[in-house]
Structures are given as C-alpha cells and as structure tokens.
Amino acid sequence: MTAPYLQLEKMTKEYPGVVALNKVDIKVNYNEVVGLVGENGAGKSTLLKIISGIESPDSGNYFLEGKEVKYNSLLEAHKDGISLVFQEQSLLPNISVAENIFLGSEEKYMKFGMLNKKKMYEETRKYLEMVDSEIDPGTLTGNLEFSDRQMIEIAKSLRIVEESDQKNSIILFDEPTSVLEDEEIKKLFEIINEIKKDHSVIFVSHRLDEVIEISDRVYILKDGKNVEDRPTKNINQKELHNLMVGRSLQEEYYKIKDQNEIDYINGKVVLATNDLTEQKNKNFCDCCFELYEGEILGFAGVQGSGKEQLGRALFGLEQVMGEIKCESYKDIIDFPPEAINRGIAYIPKERSLEGLVFGFDVNDNINLPNYRNINKYGVIDKEEAKEVSRKWVKRLGIKTPSIHTPSGSLSGGNQQKVVLAKWLAINEINILILDHPTRGIDVGAKEEIYELMREVVKRGISIILTSDTLEELIGLSNRIHVMKDGEIVKTFMAEKDNKPTQEQIVSHMV
C-alpha cells in the first residue's frame, strides 16, 4: 500500500489555558478533497495552521508523501507545495492585484534591480484565468469586491503551489464560502474540482451541505479531538451535525437542577423591546421580546442571523430604530453609558479586544466601570477599590497571584471571570448580556462560569445569552428565541425537565 499524500499522527497543540488539538490523526490521499467540520473552537483552524506551517505542534508527526517533515514558517510549507487560502484575507488593499499575487517572490521579474512589471502582469493574467477572473492585474486590490478578492487569494495559492515545482501539492481552504453568494460558491466549487485534477484539497466550512457536496471524505473534529472520518457518499447533514455536536445533554454539567423557575404570568419584566431594527445593514428586523427577572434568555441562530448584533444593540453599540423598555426608560440606547445607567452590562466575545484592558492589573480592570461610583470629586478612593476587587476575586474564585497581576497573564477562564466581576461589582447592574461567554476557555473553567451564571440569576439578575454551541444554550437557558435572517422565528420553552432537543432548534435555524 502506498503512503497517503499527507498524514498527521497524534497532532497535539496547547495554548495557554486550552488544549486546541488533542492527538488528532488525519490522512489526505492524492487528488482527494477532504472536508473538515466541527463547532467553533473544535480545532479546525489550528489544524490548518499546523499543516501550513504557521504554528508548530507541541507533539505529533507530520508526513508528506511518506517522509516526515517539520515546518517553521508558512514559506517552508510553500516550498513543498502546501498553500493556505486564508479565512481572513491575506491581501494588502493598497497594492495592485499582481503585486499581491507575487508578493515575496518577485525575483523572477527582476533585472538589474528593476522590476519588470509588464511581464509580472502577463503572468498574473495566466493565474487569474485559472480562477476564471477577468480582473486587470494593475487594479488596486482594495477597490475590489470581497468575492473578487477571494478569487485572487485562490490565484495566489495556485501561484504558490505551481512555483514550488512539486509534482503533487495541496491547497487548504479555510471557510472560503462564509461570505460568498450562491453563484460565487458554484464558481468556487468548479475551481476546486479543477484543482483536484492536479492537487489535493482540504476544505473547512460551517455549511455542512457544502462540505458534503464538494468533499470525498469528511473529518469531524470535536473539542480538539477527531471523532471519525466518513466518506461523504452516504452521509446526510443531520448525521454529520449529530457527530459534530456529539454528547447528549449533560444535566450535571449545566447545573440544570439550579435553574430558576420563571413565572411568565405574574413575573416582573425587566426589559422589553418593540420592533427593534438595525438601521445600517438590517442585521436584525422588528425584534420584539421580553426578558423576565432572574431569567436566562438564549438566542440561537446561525452566523449572520443577527443574534450577536441584537445583544450589542441593547448595550448601545449598534444604530437601531424601535423601542427598548427598561425601568422607566422607553427610548433606544445610543451608547454604553446610557445602558449602564439602566443597569445593563455587556460581556463581549472578543475578550482580548473589547473585554479587558490587558495592560491593566486585575484591580484596575475590575474597578474600571466602577470608578464612577468610588471617587470623590474625581479622586479615586484607592483603598475602597482594592477592597472591592479583593472581595470579587474571592467570591468568583479568580485564580490570580495578587490583585495587582496584569490581566493579560491570567488564563482565559480567569480573564472571563475578571470581566464578569467588573460588572457584578456595580450594584445597579441587573441585566447581563453574555456574548459567547465560554469561547476559548477549557472545560473546567466553563463549568465554573456556568455555576456563576446560576448564582447570579438567583440574585435576581437576568441574562441574555448567545453561545458557541447549541448544547450550551439549551442547557443554560430558560427560554430560547431562534433567529433567522435577522428575525425571531420561533420560541422554545426550556424548563428544567422539558428541554428542547438540538434537532428541534436546528430545523428552525436553517
């Protein structure tokens, strides 16, 4: 038996606080299109980064055409004919298409230090033809549509594998379809089928139907481990989804027995919206919902359904029309301080970008929104601040050497607790908007966050939740609104002993 084109054995990669890949095995045969699916954080992107040399694995073996290889950079992998089509585009907007395609390997067109652009443009046209594109090579890349740039990205990959002069090569696609229209996807698939004649392909996507359509075989990743691989001939979307999500609902894990009972008839409504519509892109339209005291209200939906934007709107981060009724207020919320005045706090999913000031220590981060309450004529009461942060570090069990440790050096789970602490430290906060609160943190820390959420709602605080996985959403929520194309299409009750299944919810999501 001949060796497969590319083979990974027991690949393991650990980031601070989270195991991204755990002994993953993968094989790709010659001229094969292999699909890779999994939920957010399952390790798909990490796997591609290892294959393409951007990241080095902690342990594991990497074989190419039977020989063991080790790459320390993208360029080393390029030389062996391995090329990655980036999810976030890697093209520079301020230089021309041709310059982008040949960036870093212009030697061929150099003569006495001068660059022969004419020849470079001609060569570019050749690669653009391969992806069926008629763009002028001299166009400024930033002036092009997103889908055109995607094609240029693919043309660049073709250039890389062709220049590597290897007989066989592989092109990795990291979620290439997430922003393309149907017509463009069709074109992309034609190109992939064309590529397949000479090269192998790994195709990562969230859209399971596409993976089934384009790939010969599909690998399913879950929590950094591979579950199994299946030929796509006899598998359907539902099966694939079940394999991807895996375990059945775990009551213990989500502390379901601690779930609040909400009285939907006489209970207090703490927040209600009326015809809430996002103005610019209509990410969500005419959304009406009510949030009860002590409730965890989940929002389900695929990427782009508008669930995240809805949460952001309640904190004044989106431009909206409509009505947000909260306490005695009735108008929309324009900017965050207004939201905080109404007792609304928002915990973003980009912890490192929006949640924490990394250079600040734990003490400063916890007190950041709270300083407005503990100052006298603008002078901060430092002793009180320290007392507040010590109290919350203790109450939430934040593992930190001291309150003066820089927040950036904590693990993901503890960072998230610091973010939670800074809002809980403000007494007036009674609504928490949690946007993917357990993203990028490991299983143990997730459980602690769940426990914390249960404790918080017991105190009468209400939570609006969006989540990475449906399982988590179902496990935690009292009620779930399903969103599709910016509208709330269905509502599920999710009482302790009567949780909806994932299939029920998924059927309304797509």
């Binding site: 951007i54 950079s73 993208l74 360029l75 390029h78 890697s90 093209l91 520079l92 907007p93 301020n94 230089i95 310059e99 960036l103 870093g104 212009e106 150099m110 230090g113 001068m114 660059l115 652009k117 002036n143």
Partner: protein
Amino acid sequence: MLSFDNDFLKKLKKYDYTFIVPIVFLIAIWVTIFTVNPLFLNLRSILSVLVTAVPLIICAFGVTHVIRLGSIDLSIEGQAAFSAVLVSFLLQNNLNNFDLGFWAVIIAVLATTLIGLLNGVIHTQVKIPSFISSFGLGAIATGAAILIYRGEPISITDNGFRGFFTNWNFNIPNILFITAVVFIFLYYLQKKTIIGTYVDAIGGDEKLTRLNGIPVDKFKIISFGIAGFCYGIAGVILAARLGTGTADLSTGLLLNSIAAVLLGGTALQGGNGGVIRTLIGAIIISSLKTGIIVLRINPYFQEGFIGIVLVTVLLLGAKRGKLVINK
C-alpha cells in the same frame, strides 16, 4: 443615448481625488500671485521660487519613503545640520588649511546615510517607535554638528564648491538638475523596484507582509538610510548656498517637510503616496511663502497661515476613516 453614465460614475468614484486637491490648490496660489503682481509672470522668478524650495523638496523626498512605511522620521533637521557643518568643516574654510573638495560632499552624505541606517536599526532591532529613535538621533546629530564648530561659524572659502551649487547652466540653476536626479532616482525606486512595492506593503499591513516571508526590518532600515541620504544632500546645498556651516541652518525643515508630504496627499498611516505628491506639496509650501510676500501679508502671519492651509487641504483631500497611528 450616452452609455457612459454608470461606468463613468464608477470610475469617477474610484478616482483618487486626493491627487487633484493639492494641484488645484497650487494653481490657485499662482493665479492669485499673477493677478496681484503680473510682473511675477516670468520664468526667472518661478525658477527662483523653486531654487529656494530645493532643501525642503529634497528633505521631504527622503521622509516620504519613511512615511509610506507608516513610520516617521524626526531627525531631518539634525541630520541636515550635521551634513552642512561636516561639509563646511572638510572644505577649505576660515579655520582650517586643508580642502577635501568633492570628497567632502561624499563624506557628508555618506555620514547622514549611515545615521539614517542606524536610525532604522535602532527602530527595528531595539523595537522602539520610530518617532522616538529618530528624535533621539536627530538631537545627537545636532549636538555633533555644534561640537564640530564649537559655536564659531565656519565660512567656506572653496569657491569652486559654492559655484557648483549656485551657478546656472542653460538658463537653469544647477541645483535644479541635482534635484531632478534625486527625484528620478527616488521615483524609479518607488515605481520600478521591489523596495517600492515592499515599502507600500509594509505600510499597508506589516504583519501580513511578514507572513509573506518579506524581511520587513531590512526594508525599513534601507528606507531610513535613503532618507538620511536625502537629508545629507539637503545639508550640503544649505551650506553651499549660505557659505557657512552652522547647526541652525536647517531650522524649520522638519515640520515643513512633513507638512509637504501630507499636503501632497501621502497619508500618515502609510501604504500610499509618493515623491510626485511630495514634490507638489513642497512647491505649495514654498509658493505660499512667496505669495505672502507678493500679497504683502504681514510676515508675522506666515507660520499661522501655512498651518491654516495645511489643515484645510488635509480636510478636503486626506483619506480619512482609518485611525492614524505613528508606528
């Protein structure tokens, strides 16, 4: 029916209007000057305005590459002063009795090129922002210049040297030829070599450029070296024109050079622009100064007036919307 409308509008929308605003502005200045004083409408006076602008133009050329990188260079005045004093020191003057002749020019320009390279090395290897490294090196260069002549101005007595930079040939001042050579050299560097492409790429997104395997640090260091080279030439011209070398010869060049680059439409965040734009920007500043004299505006208004023009043109012509960061 006219069928161009849609395509035409699209093209118009994509057209880089930041290029037009400075040119329109420059024409407006000269039309104003000619209307107020028609006697000014002759080649000689226009050339003399250009000649006055030469040190500014050349310094601004140098800093253009650095700004396209997304960096900044605050050592312009220091380096130009150092070059001016060094060249006067090495030529025949009132203090010494040796004359290195043309070698003095080469040594002075080489010295500032090295300072520029050192500037790039410190910025990229010690990893401190360029505005700090260049500010420090600029101060050191000024200090070195003062140290060379110790407060006693050096008068150049080598008339051959002065003549080379101040004479006219074919009815055109010599230094305009020199400026043209520098311009052509930098223009080709920008348009025809990979240095130009990489400088734009780095200014566009340094991280992405690195990911494509491009030695970013090397090209940054080269760019700072090129900048130093330009400041050196400007310093030599300043010394030749005044016939003396002192450290305050270059006063005002720093802000005016950066203003010239910005006026031309090169954005401070890097990744676009170039020497043609800078040429226009520098000529605008120099024309404004002439205009202030011709229009008999109180010279005390000069600085403030240039500031107002700078802000106005930037408001009209700058590509905004992206956060300006001085790397």
